[in-house]
Symmetry: C2
Subunit: 309 residues, 2 copies
């Protein structure tokens, strides 16, 4: 058995806290994957080339084209790859590719979008997941990529038209780790287990709420009065924050996309589950996106760039 079957591309999803490498076959299938805690936040200037060799291991010796997406192309990354304006299609992403100084790899650009008030929003990495998840030539679609900074993305005819960021995951972590609400919370029995009724109650509160900073305080009040268990504080707050995000995203998207097509959820299994529950409570249809969207997107971009046949 050959431990290194023939490959055509090394694709890297290189983010803030971790880096993932994929070895892809000629048609784009994932042959193997590796992951290391070598995210942008863990690296200083001058350490990136060595980190790449460490991440790739024995793949580093293979003469294969390499392409990366994510925060590795940010000001805090290896090189700053200029943002591409929306609307942007895959051709625009290819035109924005930049190569590291030593020729180690190409990096996909992030996107910038300005809302009606001229306020900018940015993303890096999600553009590639969208390319991997949304079939080319698809009609208008709305996708959500939940996480530290959730992104809602409008795609029309293969172009990313606009997007909006919600700091849902980061705010959740801040509240649990550092706020007075977190002091009341007990860690849940098992991280993967979602307490559905509590989460649903939080989502309803978030969907209805007129003020997020008011809504979340009820976690403390209800704990004090014995109406919310300490181990449920996390799930309840998660529900409020996701509900708040969905309510705002629905208004944001509502004018352009009536949400008759399902919202695509692109993310980890645990987050997809939470968003599916929350979206159904908001009467919005949803569907889980394909797995390993980043690897698929990187392959499509590399192929259009002529890096692979």
């Amino acid at each position: 058995m050959n431990p290194n079957p023939p490959a055509s591309l090394l694709a890297l999803d290189w983010g803030t806290s971790s880096a993932r490498a994929y070895r892809l076959a000629a048609g784009g299938a994932v042959l193997d994957r590796r992951e290391a805690p070598l995210g942008v936040m863990q690296l200083r200037a001058g350490q990136h080339a060595a980190a790449l060799v460490s991440l790739l291991g024995d793949w580093a010796g293979e003469r294969l084209p390499r392409i990366a997406s994510g925060m590795i192309g940010s000001r805090q990354g290896w090189i700053e790859v200029p943002y591409v304006d929306c609307p942007a299609d895959t051709v625009a992403l290819v035109a924005g590719l930049r190569t590291t100084p030593g020729g180690e790899m190409a990096i996909v650009p992030g996107l910038v979008h300005r809302d009606g008030d001229g306020v900018p929003d940015v993303l890096r990495g999600e553009e590639t997941q969208i390319v991997g998840a949304v079939p080319e030539g698809d009609e208008g679609i709305l996708a959500v990529l939940p996480g530290t900074h959730s992104k809602w993305v409008r795609v029309e005819s293969g172009r990313i038209v606009s997007f909006a960021t919600f700091m849902t995951g980061e705010l959740f972590a801040l509240l649990v780790q550092h706020s007075i609400l977190g002091r009341l919370a007990a860690p849940p029995a098992a991280e993967a287990t979602l307490h559905h009724p509590v989460f649903a109650d939080g989502v309803a509160r978030g969907l209805a709420c007129d003020g997020l900073t008011h809504a979340i305080f009820a976690a403390r009040t209800r704990c004090l009065l014995g109406e919310l268990a300490a181990e449920d504080v996390g799930d309840w707050l998660s529900g409020v924050l996701i509900g708040h995000e969905i309510a705002a995203a629905r208004r944001w998207a509502g004018a352009s996309i009536p949400l008759t097509t399902p919202v695509q959820i692109i993310g980890s299994h645990a987050l997809v589950e939470r968003y599916q529950v929350a979206l159904s409570l908001a009467d919005v249809r949803s569907a889980a996106g394909p797995p390993e969207a980043a690897a698929r997107g990187l392959f499509r971009i590399a192929r259009l760039a002529g890096m692979v046949p």
Copy 2:
């Protein structure tokens, strides 16, 4: 000159992070004040009596009645004084007074209120400030007590009818100290100096915003693109959070009070200034409440309780 002119009451505003003591004359005038970093969070069970002696200093030897309000009456305080239900007038607060086990002082109860969905909200200390700030027998009035946990309070004919908490100050501190937004922020040149145009822009964003977790992310994006200076991040975020609070509080209060009478702002000078600017941008009239509302309220409650003539 007598260093200790005749007094009638020692009044204590004893909160989470600090404790203030007032020596009050027979008519309620403040003769002297003392403050110490002996807040509820700094003290463990069994340390409160000694902390009181330390705070009072040579006043501790005077045979004067003592009354306190604030978090000292919470579960994390000296004794837990049960919450009183809204609507509550000063008579109800007097009925809820409790005395510490050694008879050291009386403590004013906090309030609990349930909204239309049955979700509870609580406060401790603000009930006393309201008693001190709002003239008895006044018509309907709306007051805001800005701070770590801002409280909006509806008062009708001398009764506290309802209230709502907004975690504005705590969320601001979390974002500046622990979030990705704070990493971009530089401390302002002088803490007391408000950069008005930047703050006003933040307020407008907060008043208009459909999603707080989306709105605040623009602090990062605008910094990245050179459209917001690092030393302005704090004032801009403060504006967004206060604007978000005001927009929600206006909807919360709108049904009952049309805001034709000015909103009373009860707080420190710096916060009163920010809220006056923000409320005027929201087309809501406001007025600064009287200073030392806690001391005034404690005196009124003590007099009604017969502790002072």
